[in-house]
Symmetry: D2
Subunit: 317 residues, 4 copies
């Protein structure tokens, strides 16, 4: 049963209005625990640059590498510290329905504005099973559905989305299947956030998307604000493509973790199975930062290449 | 490493100033999960009646029956909903040092104002071990030490308290060893909260205690405010003694759980090993409520005796 | 550090010799807990029909729906009850390296003969990351690598396998990428189990595979013994294809769960997100059983269609 | 529901016949994880010296410092490695009924011969609550009840024991309340193990106790075999008293951990809140070993005093 206190009951309409949402990075201490002061710095930079929401513990934030106590703690931490300045959306999805149900209850209890839910990846299930999975969590509060077949091995078909789109808590879809799919939804009045940074400008301005759930906004939140909220800007969009391409050359968040380390915003600590990009890619990043302009990136330290030995890789956290 | 955001860094001086703190009850749904709407109601009643702080997940709140994910969630929930109106003190103590360390980090991360810590009960240890235990958590934030030999089987000696009393995060002691012990501490300038409702009036007005961490204030927060914050009142103190005696005739929170059920504020659901007081005791409670006056108790339903069958006892939560 | 007791240190050579391994079903009670007597029955039927190994808590056994305490308990249970009669291989893979490391230590401690490991699904990582992931667990004991891109969204390339194939604990690969891939490995002397029931006969007899890690052997262990261990048998292989096709018409273990319920070997209890196959599919199964012969299937009750209402779907376990 | 496989269903009569049971030490690696090879050595020494049973994860084995996954793993490990040579009794007690229920199911599933259960320490409850607590676990298998008011703050009264003594799974009581209490039980035919090493000889030979659940037998299993199983021996009993007195000068297992470190059988690693005995006490232990004779103690290294710096104290495990 959900609490009815104000701080734990954001109306779904407020969630639907968000345009620029960042899937925020989780930084680590040398022993693998969360680096909360660094997390606070990253989040404040998002707020200062006009970002409207954050996904906490998404795949970008490496929720898949957290135990649930830590995961819920991080959502609660974000809510208690920043909940009045930015919408906190908790990734409480799981391929186990009981786990998704449990985490969703917990996340709403500690104040998250909305839940992000994924279809059952890896284990997979039938369409009826996917539907039953989502229906097990939809009653609890505002819900964003995440479709990313490249990770889950299974597309959430429009047929499934259309079946749940009428639920009072359905906020919309983070969609990675491209802008044709985006358009087919937005024409039906379904709220869509692009899950692909490279396509989000067009999704927003040409295909009716509400906005983006972005990775690159971790690095250049101000530019992403300009791109998504200050009018059509194909020039800026083109200017950002090399950065986005670099960022996704290996599975996310490998590029992001490497970039934030190079920018001096986080300690260069990786929880395995993530490892930093190689030295050549790190050199490319320095060039990309210079091309776009250091002042557009978060932080104020010089961007560095870093040596292989500067990175710490952890296999027990 | 602790977050420095305002919402997660209460100065120890603010904790030391609290006089009336309630060890708040955790209510349950029929399936054993937390009943958050009922928890919110109980907490709002505390706030409305002038209570200044709550202990979340203490022995009264049955922290000993929670897994840590739920326990931290409840602390976070209290902080996000009520942290601006009442000081939330999290019981993050454990007889395992690693568990106390972990829970304390988590509790501060989700916004608790202070930590409540216990010496290692059941497992017990040497004086040097108790000291090492407390020193493992004191650096993290404001800390209240809880001494209750009747539960732990081991007194925290003044020698131990005096060794940690100088730490910048040491807030004070919840002391159950009687008012002579209280006085010996307060003369040294150590902040003390009485842990015994029956002695707290005298502790406060005659022995220098700062206040009380109370169980009975769950039921009569307004009267406890009068008793502790509105001047010496031996008449009121005497009037409350039958209620207090009733409340502790069996190990707390058996009496409290029974009373709140009879007052209609919580569902009559008990997690084992707690069971309700018997029918005769429940009848006595109705009489006690009438003697003191229903209007002084929380809630507005008629007090009921309840039948044995009205109670639900759960052994799998 | 691994125990050196006999019962917890199976030589990798013994693992490499196994031909018929069943990815065994985990049956549930009505409240969602494991049904251990039913698990014991299923396992004994495997042993009696000549199956040489079981995967405990694989995707078929719904390890993805277990917490780790339960998961390790089930591996330990299988080892202590059946470890002297059948090789117990624990699925201790995870997309989080720390979790895979932890579960692998635990699994070997409770006696598993070998570990089954998966590449980091859903979160995904770079080739260097996949390699680091496997290298974090290989030192602990005999290891089978599982490649199933349809679930993980990422192929484990031959380049990666070849890099770890020389490790003294590398037992082989459960490969789902087809018999060309199987052959390319077996020609290099790498031990391969087919992960596809429909291809396993040919994998074994034509492409050099050591055997199969099978789902269908849960149902017809004796026939699978004949197919894999009693010589080339294309006729039997053809006879089994309709059953296999039926079994995988929806993501595994949906078909298997439905079939074992219909055969009366397990209670018809599903943990979501799995739901039973529909009534038409269940009718087809009755026909398939009759075509192959009830006596070849496990159990001795009549095969039933079951009504929709006979199934119990659980969303909190 | 309990498994009926032989390896997981020891008859209660076999448990009642055990005389010498050791509450075995859990040794740690430098990073705080279990040192399984050292655990195996300690257990084999017990077996070789005629000990008939071990309590795994008792207060001596620091079950109070384990998470349940590790705790059940250790029970499972002991069962799979040594279950055919020694009776493995799992300490699956907790002050939370749900936790005791869960751990008991798990422990029996991985093969423990019997469960050790404690009354709800710290949280405490009424007599009716204690009874309900024990009745929640008794149906699962052979059960030993542990009464140690010095740790729990609450005596399990004879009235409670007599109410459960007739249950088919009731094996007996580990009683620490002295030999008068022992005798009052044994006269009623209740099986009793002394929980006090200093009194166990008399308990056995004068008061009808079945035997002892011993700490000192970790160090001198052969002498304890002589004391308990080879006839009345007041001389040996007297000879052991200084060792026993030394062992319990601080709360157990502080002395035991120190002693096994000095004997070179475990790494000198302590999980807080346990810390080693001081240098003078360690010097006394060397003298005690010499007085009794090094050959009667486990291991074959010279007993050492060890420096303070030789010990590693861990606060995060």
């Amino acid at each position: 049963m959900r609490s009815f206190e104000n701080r734990t009951s954001t109306p779904v309409e407020e969630v639907k209005k968000l345009t620029l949402i960042t899937a925020i990075k989780t930084p680590y201490l040398e022993d693998g625990r969360f680096d909360l002061p660094a997390f606070d710095r990253l989040t404040n930079l998002q707020i200062q640059n006009g970002v409207e929401g954050v996904i906490v513990g998404g795949t970008t934030g490496e929720g898949q590498l957290m135990n649930w106590t830590d995961h819920i703690m991080l959502i609660g931490h974000a809510c208690v510290c920043f909940g009045d300045k930015i919408k906190v959306i908790g990734n409480v999805g799981s391929n186990a329905t009981w786990e998704a149900v449990y985490a969703t209850e917990q996340g709403f209890a500690v104040g998250m504005a909305a839940a992000l839910h994924i279809n059952p990846y890896y284990g997979k299930t039938s369409s009826a099973g996917v539907l039953a999975h989502f229906n097990s969590v939809l009653d609890m509060g505002p819900t964003v559905i995440y479709n990313v077949p490249g990770r889950t091995g299974q597309d959430i078909s429009p047929a499934i989305i259309e079946k749940i789109a009428g639920h009072c808590n359905f906020a919309g879809v983070k969609e990675c299947m491209g802008n044709q799919r985006v358009e087919s939804y937005t024409k039906q009045g379904i709220t869509i956030w692009s899950g692909n940074d490279d396509e989000c400008h067009d999704a927003r301005w040409d295909y009716g998307a509400q906005g983006v759930i972005s990775v690159v906004s971790n690095l250049v939140p101000g530019l992403m604000h300009q791109l998504l909220l200050e009018g059509r800007d194909p020039k800026l969009n083109a200017k950002l493509q090399p950065l986005i391409k670099w960022l996704f050359m290996e599975p996310n968040p490998i590029g992001l973790n490497t970039a934030l380390s190079q920018l001096g915003l986080i300690q260069p600590v990786f929880r395995l199975p993530y490892v930093p990009l190689g030295i050549e890619q790190r050199q490319q990043f320095v060039q990309i930062v210079e091309d776009i302009g250091r002042q557009h990136f978060v932080g104020d330290k010089d961007v560095q290449v870093l040596e292989d030995d500067d990175f710490l890789l952890l296999h027990r956290y």
